[in-house]
């Protein structure tokens, strides 16, 4: 029996979905090791403690709350020091972080501070005696590596969406703690936080993603992609690098090896050729639809359903049909 640590990521005073996934994964690890506790670290500006019960719902026995006015924005220097102190003293079997921008920045620092094994961007894991054995997509997702982490605590970052968060309600006890170093002394200072479109559904969270490539021909034509996303009601808009490079869409919309990695229920690729770097980011989507005028486009090799045709003609018709299907419930 051993306790497991989880980092509960928040932004702007709200929990991110990856926080629930991390806590839920830590729950699974604790259960697999004979029923230890899950201790989740939640840090932010004063008031963040109100999110603790939500972490309990997903399996946290203890929520370590670190409230500080200087933590309104995530600060890796402070969070890494704080997490490391806790993990060092907690005797944990494993520590789960998220393979998000924040988690990728944080976990390696903690691993280096503690001198322990770390595996990144993990899609599945199991305990194997003293070791932790994990799977990690490498080579742009074209190869899956199985890795062994020796020694405790083992640190991992969990790929967003790879493992759904499952409810497992605990009445989480709240402990408060101080940041291990004063946020004011941090050497890297956040000067500005540039929020993405706040009303929009983030592509990491959306069950449906409608994504556009150079086949759309212009920034203006992305209206057709947005219309289809709106018709689904629960969709976000994504893009290829060709499109973000041309400035048709913001960099944050980019899906692929160097953009976001997504695994929605439905991915609709519109005018996208299907370069390996793009596929690396979306091949784990449950259902993939491709619309491309070239019947030999590589995207059709990963698509479940394809329409060969002009995306500018197909999209308005598809949007109308989706609207109608949804109105019929």
């Amino acid at each position: 029996m051993a306790n497991t640590f989880a980092m509960a990521e928040s932004r702007g005073g709200a929990l991110r979905r990856v926080a629930l996934e991390a806590v839920s994964a830590a729950r699974a690890l604790a259960d697999a090791s004979g029923g230890g506790e899950v201790h989740a670290l939640l840090a932010g500006a004063p008031g963040i403690a109100s999110l603790a019960p939500e972490l309990g719902k997903y399996g946290a026995d203890v929520v370590i709350v670190v409230e500080h006015a200087g933590l309104a924005n995530a600060n890796s220097e402070v969070l890494a020091a704080t997490a490391a102190v806790r993990i060092r003293s907690g005797g944990y079997r494993a520590a789960v972080f998220s393979s998000s921008a924040q988690g990728r920045d944080l976990a390696p620092r903690v691993a280096a501070k503690l001198g322990v094994a770390m595996a990144a961007d993990v899609t599945s894991f199991e305990l194997a005696g003293d070791a932790l054995v994990v799977r990690h997509p490498a080579y742009a997702g074209k190869v899956i590596a199985t890795l062994r982490l020796t020694g405790t605590p083992a640190i991992l970052t969990l790929r967003p969406g790879a493992r759904a968060a499952v409810e497992s309600a605990k009445a989480a006890r709240v402990e408060s703690a101080q940041p291990a170093i004063d946020p004011a002394s941090s050497r890297v200072v956040v000067k500005e936080m540039i929020a993405g479109g706040s009303a929009k559904l983030d592509i990491g969270d959306a069950p449906v993603i409608v994504s556009g490539g150079r086949g759309l021909k212009s920034a203006e034509n992305f209206k057709l992609v947005e219309d289809l996303a709106a018709a689904f009601g629960n969709a976000a808009v994504g893009a290829t690098r060709a499109v973000t490079d041309d400035g048709w869409r913001p960099h944050s919309d980019q899906i692929g090896q160097t953009g976001r990695q997504v695994s929605p229920d439905l991915y609709v690729a519109c005018g996208i050729s299907g370069a390996i770097q793009h596929i690396a980011g979306m091949r784990n989507s449950r259902t993939i639809v491709a619309i491309n005028k070239d019947k030999d486009a590589p995207i059709f090799k990963v698509a479940d359903y394809g329409i060969v045709g002009d995306v500018l003609e197909v999209l308005p018709v598809l949007t109308a049909a989706v609207k109608q299907a949804r109105s019929q419930g």
Binding site: A112, T146, R148, E192
Partner: protein
């Protein structure tokens, strides 16, 4: 500025990979190798900074067997001043072991700036940069898409999911380079000739204990072959029917 760039050799990702008979590596036959993409950007970033702000020195470092000298020479032919190979029989999968060896080399180098790629093309870990920063106790900004340096201070933009932040820090510091930073230049003929005479030092890598090890490598399951539903707008009703009844996503 004195800038160090840590570069990793990696295969071209357009390849159809095969797993080697050992089950523990990709089959190297026929693979083409280059600098890991972002490491190329990092070399370019260093060269541009020193070209604009000169005088300076750009040092490239790679850990691995002798084949990595190819990538070190390429960086020299792009314009880097000297190279260091931290020699090891193979490149460990344990990022912390790599970081330890890099930190040991970087420790006393007196670098103003140490650049990494955000992630290597093969391992795709994005861990070696921030781990090395931690071991060197230097400020660190990861996944940086713009970088401005003036008077010993750096301002960088970092892309977060659906948001971005602008951070500021003093040098010396560690930065990992992401999309948005300048793409690697092609070496000129003159550069290639000059690179032959530039110093490439070989030292033993001090890796220490490896706690992350490879059990096996395999190809992911192929996605079941999909189907073309039809052509043009006329195929939409059938697609919507399939999304509703078969895929159950509508």
């Amino acid at each position: 500025m004195k800038i160090a760039v840590c570069i990793k050799r990696g295969p071209d990702m357009e390849t159809r990979f095969k797993i080697a008979a050992s089950g523990k590596a990709v089959d190297e036959a026929g693979l083409k190798y280059d600098l890991s993409d972002f490491d190329g950007y990092a070399v370019e970033t260093a060269l541009q900074l020193n070209e604009k702000q000169g005088p300076g020195e750009t040092v490239v470092i790679s850990l691995g067997p002798d084949v990595v000298q190819e990538q070190l020479r390429k960086a020299l032919s792009m314009g880097a001043d000297r190279a260091v190979q931290l020699k090891s029989d193979s490149v460990p999968v344990d990022g912390l072991a790599i970081a330890r060896a890099l930190a040991a080399e970087l420790q006393s180098g007196g670098y103003d700036l140490i650049l990494f790629g955000r992630q290597a093309v093969d391992s795709a870990n994005a861990t070696v940069g921030p781990m090395t920063a931690e071991l060197l106790n230097l400020p660190c900004a990861t996944a940086v898409s713009t970088l401005d340096i003036a008077n010993g201070r750096a301002t960088a933009r970092r892309e977060l999911e659906g948001a971005a932040e602008v951070v500021e820090f003093a040098l010396p510091a560690v930065v990992t380079v992401d999309e948005g930073m300048p793409r690697a230049r092609y070496p000129s003929l003159k550069g290639i000739m000059a690179a032959r005479k530039k110093p490439l030092e070989v030292k033993a890598a001090q890796l220490g204990e490896e706690r992350l090890t490879l059990e096996k490598m395999e190809l992911p399951p192929e996605r079941a072959a999909g189907r073309i539903v039809g052509e043009g707008p006329g195929a939409v009703p059938e697609l919507v029917r399939l999304l509703h009844t078969e895929a159950k996503v509508l």
